[in-house]
Subunit: 349 residues, 2 copies
């Protein structure tokens, strides 16, 4: 098929944006920056870590001696609750200076009491607890906010400023640009086809299998046809589920298993703790409308391209034109499929 | 004004995307990654550099002994001309698997024969030659391609794989996602107001002055109201110009001066060679239609936030929700305004 070998574009139906695919380009020599690999062996507990159990944070609060996860308010959150009832003066002049107030909450979720255990290194019950914590925080915050963004920045090159494995939740009343785009696109598809975009997509990928990395009873992991990042994946429900609050215990278990497999495979691609930003896209909350056009899903955006030290830079052309990738989604999927489900740290030799 | 101090959102009218502004957040402690500052003093000529005059590149071609700029075909371009007349098989299935062929040309523009001279370090005639080269390459390529993207990735952290100062041109027949978005938005504004969005914007900023970094007879440099990157700027024509081919010699001169001032100020913010990705947005070419809705402009996207070594990471929330910034556009503008126009390397002491 000519498509896989020569330059072409693919369109992301969730956002409407295109990506330029240049499969031949991964052969060029690389003289640019390499990323430092953080080889520091971390202790199980770090006295100076504000996320470890029983430690005291800068604001004086003490963490409990937690056994699974621990959630606290981000002391330097980008969003804060609207302090008073007084409405803010907002400068919106014509169609050029458009501004709006924004308030909300930012939380930190410690994934485990152990300072040195990332998601793929957690046991099943610990991963189950992480998913349950996502669900509980979503469910609570979705009562007040329309948009509850659960995410994780993993690794220093993804701007993660604390080595202790953790994720975040940013909740606010407005719809973010990405959620707005995905909502519009999924709704238009539903209006046209009478079926949900991601439900149809899951079915097609299950038949084709080329891009499927893993599937279990309730979840599918696929390198989406329109992937922008080298090893980008979409982790999507196979059920008719729009948000975290609908997750049953069985679906939670199944998700914990899918997370274990995917993050282990990631670490095994380059035998390193694979950096990424990942996050969940729930249907907007509290609209009182039917959200059948939406399916709960997570995006994983990992930057590494050629090795533990060479990442894809989404820079000049990508910022000013559109995303560009140097290996096809199908090649990336075959590499992830072939990657072992036994973590490299646990492999003898 | 409450807007500047508490969290709010601003909308980019060129793309329709929002940015979350959290001015209080720059006070948080930073424990994350710091970027290496490249302190290597580069020679004026490097025998092993494929961009220096008279050297031979990997493909066997020799560079001329050029005096100002030198342009050559990128040996590892993401786009290649459509080799034959045979049309490609393109996999487009329903509304989920949408693909299109893409062909074009990628060129490298060496800015100067001197291996160690970045834009702010060039003399006026050399900068004039850079602008003239942009214009000539645009004019030539725009005869064949609708979309001619001129850009520069500066610095290792922007994925620049060659220290020799250079930019690139990627030309293709389709409109990239960003150009398509800006075209749609500017056209809608023009249809509604009968005036060009950026022409109106320039006039408002000239009166307000808060965000204006520099202006001369033909160009305005402003930290746009909707800036996403910490020190993002928009360099925009004050004239009725839609693309590079319309540039007069006087406008070229004026642009060379504006580039000198802006890039010098950038380097002086943190006393380092300030990394960025920048690029030009010309109106789409060859449409045979009136492009009065468009104004020629460049975006500068520099990643540094707090120092030469701490950058803004556009990661989890930003990738999954929307861009977020930690200082207001007005604060960034005042820092850039205050920055000297004499390059720090030329300052005694
Ligand atoms: O063309 P270069 O400088 O080798 O490569 C750089 O710029 C390109 C265009 O923005 C990007 O696609 C690459 O990821 C980046 O490393
Ligand atoms: O909240 P953190 O981990 O300190 O900060 C990190 O994640 C945030 C959310 O994606 C980003 O805004 C920051 O740029 C990044 O450094």
């Amino acid at each position: 098929m000519a498509l896989l070998e020569s330059t072409h574009r693919r369109k992301n139906p969730l956002t409407g944006r295109w990506v330029l695919v240049s499969p031949h380009r991964n052969n060029r020599p690389w003289l640019g920056a390499t990323e430092a690999v953080n080889e520091t062996v971390l202790p199980k507990h770090d006295e100076s870590c504000p996320l470890c159990p029983s430690n005291t944070r800068a604001n004086g609060d003490s963490n409990p001696d937690y056994k699974y996860t621990h959630v606290f308010k981000n002391d330097f959150g980008a969003l804060t609750p609207n302090a008073s009832e007084q409405s803010q003066s907002v400068e919106s002049d014509s169609d050029l200076f458009i501004a709006d107030e924004a308030s909300g909450e930012c939380r930190v979720i410690c994934f485990s009491p152990e300072h040195n255990k990332t998601l793929p290194e957690l046991e099943h019950d610990a991963l189950h607890a992480v998913v349950k914590t996502w669900k509980d925080n979503y469910t609570e915050l979705a009562q007040q906010y329309e948009c509850v963004q659960v995410f994780e920045n993993k690794g220093e090159i993804m701007g993660c400023s604390q080595p202790h494995p953790h994720g975040q939740v940013w909740a606010h009343s407005h719809l973010s640009t990405e959620i707005e785009a995905e909502d519009t696109q999924q709704r238009a598809y539903f209006d046209k086809h009478g079926t949900a975009m991601l439900a149809d997509y899951v079915k097609k990928e299950q038949v084709d299998k080329t891009r499927v990395v893993f599937e279990n009873e309730h979840w599918l992991v696929v390198v989406p046809f329109w992937a922008a990042w080298p090893f980008e994946t979409l982790l999507v429900t196979k059920d008719n589920i729009q948000n975290f609050s609908q997750l049953s215990d069985v679906q939670t278990d199944s998700l914990a298993q899918a997370l274990k497999v995917l993050t282990t495979k990631y670490d095994n691609v380059f035998n390193c703790s694979f950096p990424y930003s990942m996050g969940w896209h729930n249907a907007p909350a509290n609209r009182g409308s039917d959200e059948q056009h939406w399916r709960l899903h997570a995006h994983f955006y990992p930057p590494l391209l050629r090795s533990a030290t060479v990442k894809k830079h989404m820079v000049g052309y990508e910022m000013l034109g559109e995303s560009q990738r140097d290996l096809s989604a199908e090649t990336a999927a075959s590499i992830l499929k072939a990657a072992s489900t036994t973590h490299y740290k646990n492999t003898a030799g």
